[in-house]
């Protein structure tokens, strides 16, 4: 029995076998949609105050405010610009503190969409704790904090009651590696879109 199979195998050239198998596999994919594009899933849309739960953070964008500046806290835009402030509640869902800095922390998780002068790569001017304007604070595990994400925008970029969309990002977890110390969250990807209206508070009060 084995000798006969071996003899048969020797007669058929390998390239016929490989081509035949490839053809069979391709035909089989027809049962699963073939080579058509996978349908793109629409981004979930959230309103003001609704939270988006990611792998690392739970973020709820509460309101969007245009303001001239926060002079008492020394957060002042360049001349000709105003500040776009997104007031959010952020909760750290992990077991270790998370910073609010760019590229490592929570500053990566929000980006306004469709605002003239800002794009997905625009890092916030600063991200501060709303109560005491502390910058570069650390988000402690399971302690929700109100953060103000602040961008500089041109004077005429936005007006009161303009609709604004904000992309909420999530990050993927990467465990500690042989040459890297500590697990990290990286590669932000858009996970939801928040839709809000901008309030213009002129120069007064804090956001």
């Amino acid at each position: 029995m084995r000798a006969r199979a071996k003899a048969l195998g020797e007669k058929v050239p390998t390239k016929y076998v490989v081509t035949g198998l490839t053809g069979v596999v391709l035909l089989a994919t027809a049962g699963f949609g073939g080579l058509a594009d996978a349908p793109a899933t629409a981004l979930p849309a959230v309103g003001a105050g609704e939270s988006v739960t990611g792998a690392q953070l739970r973020i709820a964008v509460e309101r969007a405010v245009l303001i001239d500046g926060f002079p008492e806290q020394h957060i002042v835009p360049d001349p000709g610009n105003r500040l776009l402030v997104l007031v959010t509640e952020v909760e750290n869902l992990t077991d270790v503190p998370v910073s609010t800095s760019n590229e490592l922390g929570a500053a990566d998780n929000l980006r306004p969409v469709g605002v003239p002068g800002l794009d997905a790569a625009s890092e916030p001017f600063t991200v501060v704790v709303l109560d005491d304007a502390a910058a570069l604070a650390e988000l402690q595990p399971r302690v929700p904090v109100e953060l103000a994400y602040i961008w500089q925008v041109a004077d005429d970029a936005l007006a009161a009651d303009d609709p604004i969309e904000v992309d909420v990002y999530d990050k993927t977890y990467r465990a500690e590696g042989f040459v890297t110390y500590g697990a990290r969250y990286e590669n932000p990807f858009v996970t939801a879109r928040a839709e809000l209206e901008v309030d213009d508070v002129g120069a007064g009060g804090d956001g």
Binding site: V129, A137, Q140, P141, R142, V143, F178
Partner: protein
């Protein structure tokens, strides 16, 4: 007279008539195979045990913990600290006028800390309160009125508060009973001394507000430094 025949010319009988012909190797007895197999399995088992028990990456880079208690002076390689007390509050007012608001609760640790061998670039960056699996870092929101990230000196203790924000639930949980305060020089605690002081969070009562004093050099409690 007979000429004795030499051994070379004597016709000789094959001394081992059942030996295999030239060119075929001798058959190895079955028990030799068995012994080889047993030795192989034994070596594999030993190798497995060694590989399993050898320190892993985390093991040979682990921090060197020095245990102590509240009120004792705990000394590591280049850090020495005395934890004077631990309190809990809803809100904290620090010496520079900062008022702390949190959705959780503030844990205020009063301590004196100094370095031991050198003070070049030594900051208290490694203050961590570990509760169960979670670790909370010392808050730097109050700025210079807390010891977090402050520069330390050799032999001269810096006395002041460290503030930690934790969820209110941790005050009543079993994890809170076995919480630990870990103090190190760097935010990266590996391969250096780390002072560990156990703190029972369940014994703390939450005060409505606490005022903390300004960090000072020297130890006002009067304990000997170093």
């Amino acid at each position: 007279m007979t000429v004795p025949t030499g051994p070379a010319t004597a016709p000789s009988d094959d001394p081992a008539p059942d030996r295999a012909p030239v060119g075929v190797p001798d058959r190895v007895p079955w028990w030799r195979h068995a012994i080889s197999a047993v030795v192989l399995v034994g070596l594999l088992a030993v190798a497995g045990v060694v590989a399993d028990t050898a320190p892993s990456g985390g093991g040979w880079q682990a921090p060197i913990d020095v245990d102590g208690r509240v009120g004792e002076t705990v000394t590591g390689r280049n850090i020495e600290a005395t934890v004077h007390g631990v309190r809990a509050a809803d809100s904290v007012l620090t010496s520079n006028g900062w008022q702390g608001v949190t959705t959780g609760v503030w844990i205020v640790v009063d301590l004196s800390v100094s370095t031991v061998v050198d003070d070049r670039g030594t900051l208290l960056a490694g203050g961590v309160l570990r509760v169960g699996d979670r670790s909370y870092s010392a808050s730097d929101r109050p700025g210079l009125s807390v010891l977090a990230d402050q520069s330390l000196s050799v032999g001269i203790p810096l006395t002041g508060p460290l503030l930690f924000e934790i969820p209110r639930d941790d005050l009543d949980s079993s994890d809170g009973r076995s919480a630990r305060l870990e103090l190190g020089l760097g935010a990266d605690p590996r391969v250096d001394s780390r002072l560990v002081v156990p703190v029972d969070l369940t014994t703390l009562s939450v005060e409505p507000t606490i005022e903390t004093a300004e960090p000072v050099l020297g130890d006002p409690a009067g304990e000997e430094a170093g």
